[in-house]
């Protein structure tokens, strides 16, 4: 018997929270990479990826639909709608791991999006403390996520696929409080 691997989009089968105070939506499928590279080769790595690598802590840089998210002093999450050509990095010491099958993303948007996230995330999500363009690994309830503010009322949440039903279900349940 042939078993077929099915790609289930995030939020599949989830009852969405009522109202529009908090809206959960899947992000389109994309290629994702974790890149670790020393400072000397960061410019070359950015050119190979097709977008600059942010060097300021906890900031994301976008170039068209490509995004590079600072995760650590030498570590970035790269999100791209197509597969970048990294052959220019041959010979440059680096670590490049394709995590496209490991994790997926959703957007949490709406006027109460920050409040919904704050039910499980201890960070200060006020715009003064967490401005647009800021991104970081953090937690939602018991799960590690990557949180990225793409607009004042829109957050991009990346989580591992096996944790996504938990994250989405948690946020949907928390959002019911704000549906009034």
């Amino acid at each position: 018997m042939v078993e077929t691997a099915l790609r289930r989009p995030p939020l599949a089968g989830l009852v969405p929270p009522p109202g529009d105070a908090v809206v959960l939506a899947p992000v389109p499928p994309a290629a994702r990479f974790i890149l670790r590279v020393r400072p000397a080769a960061q410019t070359a790595a950015g050119e190979a990826f097709g977008g600059p690598l942010p060097t300021i802590a906890c900031r994301a840089a976008t170039e068209g639909a490509r995004a590079a998210l600072w995760l650590g002093p030498d570590e970035w999450l790269l999100i791209s709608p197509d597969a970048p050509d990294f052959t220019a990095l041959a010979g440059v010491p680096h670590s490049l791991v394709d995590v496209g099958h490991r994790q997926a993303g959703i957007t949490v948007s709406g006027p109460r999006a920050a409040a919904a996230l704050n039910t499980g995330c201890p960070l200060d999500l006020d715009e003064a403390a967490f401005p647009v363009g800021m991104c970081t690994r953090t937690v939602v309830a018991k799960t590690q996520i990557v949180l990225w503010r793409t607009a004042p009322e829109t957050f991009h949440v990346e989580a591992w696929r096996s944790f996504l039903p938990y994250v989405c279900g948690y946020l949907a349940e928390a959002s019911r409080e704000f549906s009034g």
């Binding site: 970081t136 953090t138 937690v139």
Partner: protein, 97 residues
Amino acid sequence: MLLIACPYCGERPEIEFAYGGEAHIARPADPSAMSDEEWAAFLYARTNPKGTHAERWRHTNGCGRFFNAVRDTVTDFFVATYKTGEPRPDLTPRSVV
């Protein structure tokens, strides 16, 4: 909520961090030349002070990096945090007025 100042990310909630034991313990250069007692002391004996303690922490749910912190084991107050590889900061006790 206890905030810990990660040297890379800034002040973040304690729940994002993991404790990593006492800091500044160098692995002996030649373990085979040591006696069992010396090796056991390296592995297990720690200072366990009452007061300021230099210890390793890891920002597990953040940048993922190890760093060192000086914490008061009596009050749980974080006196200072600094990057791995940097020397322990000089924390001369403030004079009591």
